[in-house]
């Protein structure tokens, strides 16, 4: 177990370093320089040069990367070229929004997905299964931003059930906070729910057909116990993996959802930073995203090995 974990840790570290290099070079390959993007319509050659100097853009790439890495190791990600706000502060306010949104969306996805998946597997051939399948297919076929627009149009502006946009921090007013996040979480969660549903269904079908379930049934276990304790538990392995894999989607999906609902999250911050060529912010957010992705995958692997001890034995090749 330990050597497996160490191996995974090492792999994660390599991925992280690669990600920072890719992003560091990537942002510098973009046309348009940060000084120009900052100065906008109020620019003149002299002050552009001064801004470039201030941003350290005249240093060689190696020096710039060195500064970035050294700073990052000390927890200093620099300041936004546009607003002058420290990147760590920006991440500190943006990340919790995105994490809360993602967790709520995952909750929606898991509750919806696992329930409909179990129903579809258990009630095979009945209307309930058709309905569950239809929902899943629809979930896979509708662009989530469109769903968001329609939701704003009809549920927020039309019926006034939810705020159309904006955000209230949880610490300030928990009820208002959740009220603002209901629609975004539903919109972001439904697409993922469809995937979770399909995985749950096929995993459940597989488990229900397995020998040990037949044995449990033969021993007279109640159907509820068979489904809940045996089949579902085993199917969860698959679900955990799928949820782990959806993180990339969650983050990209959060960008669009945050943009539509005007949430001051991490995803919106990233896109805005790219448009504004705000190098320190882009570098900071990608570093944190990559670290989060890697950490979560690592945790998924660990969770996986806890749910199913055979994985540990299998080691690297899975």
């Amino acid at each position: 177990m330990r050597s497996y974990l160490l191996h995974r840790l090492w792999q994660s570290a390599v991925t992280l370093v690669l990600a920072t290099i890719v992003v560091f070079l990537g942002v510098r390959a973009l046309p348009g320089d940060p000084a120009l993007a900052f100065a906008g319509e109020e620019r003149d050659p002299a002050s552009l040069a001064a801004i470039r100097e201030r941003l350290g853009l005249n240093d060689s790439l190696v020096v710039q990367y060195g500064k970035f890495v050294l700073g990052a190791l000390r927890g200093d990600l620099g300041t936004s070229t546009r607003t002058g706000i420290p990147v760590s502060t920006m991440i500190g306010t943006g990340l919790p929004v995105t994490i809360e949104l993602s967790l709520l969306a995952l909750l929606v996805a898991i509750v919806l997905g696992v329930t409909t998946g179990v129903v579809a597997a258990v009630r095979r051939g009945r209307p309930a299964e058709w309905f569950a399948n239809a929902l899943a297919l629809l979930g896979l076929s509708v662009p989530n931003f469109w769903l968001g627009l329609i939701a704003i149009l009809y549920l927020a502006v039309g019926l006034g059930l939810f705020p159309a946009s904006g955000f209230v921090p949880f610490g300030e007013d928990p009820v208002a906070n959740l009220h603002h996040l209901v629609l975004p979480a539903l919109v972001l969660g439904t697409g993922i729910a469809a995937i979770v549903m399909r995985q749950t269904r096929s995993a459940m079908l597989e488990s229900l057909g397995a020998d040990y379930i037949r044995t449990a049934r033969a021993k007279g276990a109640s159907p509820r116990a068979v489904i809940g304790r045996h089949a579902l538990r085993n199917s969860l392995v698959v679900v955990v993996t799928v949820v782990g894999l959806q993180l990339g989607i969650l983050i990209s999906g959060a960008v669009v959802t945050e943009r539509i609902f005007g949430l001051p999250g991490f995803g919106k911050m990233t896109i805005d930073a790219v448009f504004q060529r705000d190098y320190p912010v882009i570098q900071g957010v990608v570093l944190v995203t990559a670290a989060a992705y890697i950490l979560i995958n690592f945790l998924v692997d660990v969770a996986y090995s806890l749910i199913d001890p055979r994985i540990r034995v299998a080691g690297g090749q899975s």
Binding site: N144, F145, W146, T241, I251, V256
Partner: protein
């Protein structure tokens, strides 16, 4: 968004003989939903190919005197948008752009992902490198890549397809890798190796043909994802550029006046949904047909 769905691997298929494929085809023909999906797709492809003939107007033709005509207006079966352009004509041409993006993106994912997946699954030494590469790609938010590409090369249909294709590569690699890994350990492949067959020959003769089902199924899942992905990119202003329409740009444009003219948002939204649904239905039927086991 570009979901990476894990596809249930089809059963091992030592023979990969034509009769088995024919059986699959027969099963597919008996699946009404698969046929319905296929029919919708056929109509969509035909309509987009024939768009220049079918469309009453050029998709960029503006009618400043007739903005926001409701569907059913004489001359504008599906109404007009803010600049008085015919929604029906734009849908036909938009469909074409969306399908192109979907197919191009998945073609790219196939061209890059299949060889890498085969190599990773077959040669243990390469696996570490390739898997690091896939991890890296998955850790990197795909939207950032799309934004970057749009900035460097200008937003366009081709670049949207490129970004979406690249984002599909890791999923494709994973599917092919796990298939290859599984097939490699099967008796008939091992036997072939013992007989002195070269690695390349084994990959080409045994592994690839047997992994093909999984690849095809993955592709049918990936195309609708790419079509939806295109609409997301267009929504962010990174997709195909005006005056050429795609279903996604139409949706993005419609956002501003969705309250005033809901049909401008609803019609392209439905078109995306129908095409994606058709692909998914067809893909499901195809999977069931190729792999009778999965439909116990």
């Amino acid at each position: 968004m570009t979901a990476t769905e894990i596809v249930t691997p089809p059963a091992p298929d030592p023979g990969a003989t034509p009769p088995r494929r024919r059986a699959a085809l027969r099963r597919l023909r008996r699946s009404p939903l698969g046929i319905a999906g296929f029919a919708v797709l056929a109509v969509a492809v035909l309509a987009s190919v024939l768009a220049p003939v079918l469309a009453p107007y050029s998709p960029a033709q503006v009618h400043f005197d007739a903005p926001f005509q409701i569907p059913g207006t004489v001359g504008f079966a599906l109404g007009t948008d803010d600049l008085g352009r015919d929604v029906l004509s734009r849908i036909l041409f938009g469909l074409r752009a969306s399908l192109e993006v979907g197919v191009l993106a998945v073609a790219l994912a196939l061209v890059v992902g299949v060889p890498l997946g085969l190599a990773a699954g077959y040669f243990r030494a390469l696996d570490a490198v390739i898997s690091r590469f896939t991890d890296l790609m998955l850790a990197f938010p795909f939207l950032l890549l799309a934004v970057g590409l749009a900035a460097i090369r200008g937003p366009s249909l081709g670049n949207a397809a490129l970004a979406l294709g690249i984002s599909q590569i890791p999923g494709m690699i994973r599917v092919v890798r796990s298939e290859t890994f599984r097939l490699k350990n099967l008796d008939f492949v091992a036997a072939s190796l013992v007989d002195g067959a070269s690695d390349v020959w084994v990959l080409g003769r045994h592994v690839l043909p047997n992994a093909l089902s999984a690849v095809i199924v993955q592709a049918t899942v990936a195309i609708p994802q790419a079509i939806i992905g295109e609409s997301v990119l267009s929504f962010l202003g990174l997709g195909i550029q005006p005056p050429d329409p795609s279903l996604g740009t139409m949706l993005a444009d419609a956002q501003q006046y969705a309250a005033q003219a809901p049909w401008t948002a609803v019609v392209p939204g439905l078109a995306i949904m129908l095409v994606a649904l058709a692909f998914n239905l067809f893909g499901d039927a195809l999977r069931d047909a190729l792999d009778p086991r999965s439909s116990r």
